[in-house]
């Protein structure tokens, strides 16, 4: 059974991907995930975005285990 993760996308990242959620095979770490997403959606390469794991922004490369909530967050522009 492949290790599949659910990813939420927001703002201009959701727009670039064409969806606010996607399911991909777990590449194991956040850096690997970012690379895989950029390969799958070349538009993302020129866009700034951060990853959140379980609703916390991550700064460094982080292991992604199954069941984690992953989100792709472009720069915030609330207010």
């Amino acid at each position: 059974m492949p290790d599949v993760i659910q990813i939420k996308a927001f703002g201009m990242i959701a727009e670039a991907i064409g969806s606010d959620s996607l399911e991909i095979e777990n590449p194991g770490t956040s850096l690997a995930l970012k690379k895989q997403l950029e390969a799958q959606f070349p538009g993302l390469k020129s866009m700034k975005f951060s990853l959140a794991v379980d609703k916390k922004m991550i700064q460094e490369d982080t292991d992604i285990s199954q069941g984690k909530e992953i989100a792709l967050l472009p720069p915030f522009s609330g207010g």
């Binding site: 959140a52 967050l73 915030f76």
Partner: protein, 148 residues
Amino acid sequence: MEKERKPKNIFVQGPISPEKIAQSIANHAIKTDIGGHSIFLGQIRADEKPEGKVIAIDYTAYEEMALEKAFEIREAIFAKYPLTCMHIYHSLGEIKVGEICLFVFTSSKHRKAAMEACDELVERIKAELPVWGREILDTEGHVWKVNT
């Protein structure tokens, strides 16, 4: 008066009405240890972009994360300033120019704490909450809002 320290929803569908603001102010009349209220309101501006003129902003958020973060910010500001009350409301959905999309309200015994806490809250809300504004243009296109 007890500080309200339970996590609560900050999101409002659509614009924040002046009547809601009045109601919120009126609710504080019973708190007779308050000497000063500081309020910040964000209003949608009809900015001119190269691509067209802004007529509305459509706000979306990663709501669960934003509420966790708002609670964290709230706790930090309560710990830093001697406040009586603190309220944060942010709009979701389409807000037209001239309408209000952000309402931050702090109250304290002496004015300085309310004022400084309000300023810091607004800065942190804009920098740290996962909320995005899609600026809708009169040319039927859109651009993504950028916070400065």
